[in-house]
């Protein structure tokens, strides 16, 4: 077990393409870190640099305080779980699990004990004598996990390990990974493009875009206080609504509506406003609020996603399925639930709505146009 340090790490390919630029992450011992971002954001490259499968162009990676830039993957004391499992097809499950230990000259008795323990943990005992091709996707995934566990490494590296599984299996394996990591307490870096997987697994999330870190933080912090419009639109499902608004003093013009914020926002003029779909409510009497023209409705059972327009900007609201939808709705939101981003840079503008007093439906003072 060890901490991992990623300092000013960049990956520049021949030809000058920068895949990862100046990334800094400090990972504590035993922490579960999830690197999340769309494809091509450099998350896998970063993980592979930690594993030693890619050279580090600039910067330094330390594992347990030891700089590993020039150390072979086998000597970094890490174990990796690959997306397509990467099991050795000519070996039985037992041999797959034992291979890494055998090559490290682990005594035979200990190999047997460790494989038995991992097989018990992952419920692989009935399959130890089988070849990988005789296993189902979920079983293969568990063998891949087992191969990492038996090594008892300083760190687990997961490269989109659940992407090849079907949706149902993915949910159960997700739980299993979390449970296992808790149990063995090994520092882990997990790469995924699935924000839900990231939210549910991570102790801390690292949101990457274009080879840069957008935000590092605990899942709920990232969810509730996204640092940029990118994070806001990437984390959470449905994505946060981002609409153009204008701030005048303590008032916000949003489409045809004017919202009294109750406190000044440290910006004036054009601003990007973020509204989570589940923070939007139906305004009681149909008078005032954000006039909302409904386009179509997605029924999810417990709630419904209502797609429509506020002024000329699209908006999604997550509303209870219990309440009948009026022909033309009007929405309200607590001012403290509003997020403001700089329109040009996309960065979050922090403001405190607490000064606005008790959280209440936004007071819409007048309807413009």
């Amino acid at each position: 077990m060890a901490s991992i340090g990623i300092r000013d790490v960049s990956k520049i390919y021949n030809g000058g393409v920068t895949a990862v630029s100046a990334v800094n992450i400090d990972i504590a011992d035993g922490e579960f870190i999830v690197l999340v971002g769309p494809s091509g954001c450099g998350k896998s490259t970063l993980l592979r640099m930690v594993a030693g499968l890619e050279t580090i162009s600039q910067g330094e990676v330390t594992i347990g305080g030891r700089t590993v830039n020039d150390i072979d993957p086998a000597d970094r004391d890490i174990a990796m779980v690959f997306q397509n499992y990467a099991l050795y097809p000519h070996m039985t499950v037992y041999e797959n699990l034992a291979y890494g230990l055998k090559n490290r000259r682990t005594p035979k008795a200990e190999i047997e004990a460790r494989v038995a323990e991992a097989a018990r943990m992952l419920e692989l005992q009935p399959y130890l004598e089988r070849k990988p091709r005789a296993l189902s996707g979920g079983q293969r995934q568990r063998v891949a996990m087992g191969r990492a566990i038996v090594r008892k490494p300083s760190a687990f590296l997961f490269d989109e390990p659940l992407s090849n599984l079907d949706a149902k299996l993915r949910v159960s394996m997700r739980g299993e990974i979390k449970r296992l990591q808790r149990r063995v307490g090994t520092t882990s870096i997990y790469v995924t493009h699935d924000q839900l997987e990231a939210m549910t697994l991570a102790d801390r999330l690292v949101v990457l875009s274009g080879g840069r870190i957008e935000q590092i933080g605990r899942p709920l912090d990232v969810y509730h206080r996204p640092a940029t419009t990118f994070v806001a639109s990437f984390i959470g499902s449905p994505a946060m609504n981002l609409v153009n608004g204008e701030v005048h003093g303590s008032k916000l013009a949003l489409g045809p509506a004017l919202i009294d914020l109750g406190a000044a926002v440290p910006t004036q003029g054009a601003v990007t406003v973020g509204l989570r779909a589940e923070d939007l409510r139906l305004h009681d009497d149909g008078q005032g609020g954000l006039p909302f023209r409904i386009d179509y409705v997605e029924e999810l059972g417990a709630q419904r996603l209502v797609h429509g327009m506020v002024g000329d900007q699209p908006l999604v609201a997550a509303l209870s399925s219990e309440i009948p939808l009026p022909e033309t709705a009007s929405l309200s939101i607590a001012p403290s639930r509003l997020h403001f981003f700089d329109t040009a840079s996309g960065r979050r503008i922090d403001w405190s709505a607490e000064a606005a007093g008790p959280v209440a439906a936004a007071v819409v003072s007048e309807v413009v146009a």
């Binding site: 030693g52 086998a74 890490i78 174990a79 990796m80 990467a86 097809p89 291979y99 090559n103």
Partner: protein
């Protein structure tokens, strides 16, 4: 799966008829003829033949010369197969590991295969030419007075060298494509699990290459047994004298130079049986250990 029905039960036979005709004319018929004439003593001038039973076989197998040629053939085949597979694999593994300019490197190695076999054989011969051969001059630097065509061992060496040289690119192509069919992530997993590259090769790469290697083993043995005829012919130029030759060349010498068609037929039947047994053995005992993905 969709079942295709032919309107007439004879139609499928009609479709495979051209293929069967070719196999029949060029394989079954000559084989039957060889088996038949191996039991006869043929008049050298074609005036008749006498049934002699198994005596052609007894003569061939009992002759000391035949036995020594058989011994050489075994050594020759083993060495050519082993060396051409070994070098082919070494080059393929190294070419596969090259990162910069790898396609150039691979193309250069594969190019050799595009040279027509007789040309390649001739080039190989020139390397061992008594007067202009660079390899003869190179050997002379170490005090080795190489006399290809005169000295038994020197000729054997040249034969093996040229035969191996011609076969390396073929093996190279197959092994390289076999290597590239091993998933990258499996190799990476192995790189994390095992520090030593040599050990990774023996425990990971080679077992996954086994299907390719098994195929090449059969092809290379057949090559060494039969297709090296041209190389040997160029080396000994019809006059074997006390130079080494393989069994196939002996069949040719006895049949077409010695005009002993019966004896030569018996030898080729023996060869046919050897190849048959060898192939059955390979499929029964070696293929079992091969892992097909």
């Amino acid at each position: 799966m969709k079942r295709v029905q032919f309107s007439s039960p004879y139609l499928p036979y009609l479709f495979i008829a051209p293929q069967m005709a070719i196999i029949f004319v060029f394989f079954y018929w000559p084989s039957v003829q060889a088996i038949q004439s191996s039991f006869y003593l043929e008049d050298p001038f074609g005036f008749g033949s006498t049934f002699v039973g198994l005596s052609n076989y007894v003569d061939a197998l009992g002759s000391a010369q035949y036995q020594s040629i058989a011994r050489f053939t075994v050594v020759f085949t083993a060495l050519v197969t082993f060396l051409s597979l070994g070098f082919g694999m070494l080059l393929a593994v190294k070419a596969d590991a090259v990162l910069k300019g790898s396609s150039t490197y691979k193309t250069l190695l594969i190019w050799v295969y595009a040279i027509a076999p007789p040309v390649a054989g001739l080039m190989g011969m020139m390397f061992f030419d008594q007067h202009i051969g660079p390899l003869v001059k190179f050997a002379a630097l170490f005090g080795w007075d190489m006399k290809v065509g005169l000295n038994y061992n020197d000729t054997a060496f040249a034969m093996i060298a040229v035969s191996v040289w011609k076969q390396i690119p073929y093996n190279f192509i197959f092994i390289l494509s076999g290597l590239q069919s091993i998933p990258v992530s499996v190799r990476e997993a192995a790189a994390i699990d095992c520090r030593s590259g040599v050990r990774r090769f023996w425990t990971m790469t080679l077992p996954l290459l086994a299907p390719t290697a098994f195929f090449l083993l059969i092809i290379n043995m057949t090559y060494a047994l039969f297709d090296t005829f041209g190389v040997i012919d160029v080396m000994v130029k019809d006059k074997a004298a006390n130079n080494p030759i393989t069994l196939v060349y002996k069949v040719y010498m006895d049949g077409f130079r010695g005009n002993d068609l019966g004896g030569s037929s018996a030898q080729s039947v023996i060869l046919m049986i050897v190849v048959f047994v060898l192939t059955v053995f390979q499929f029964r005992f070696i293929e079992r250990r091969v892992h097909y993905n």
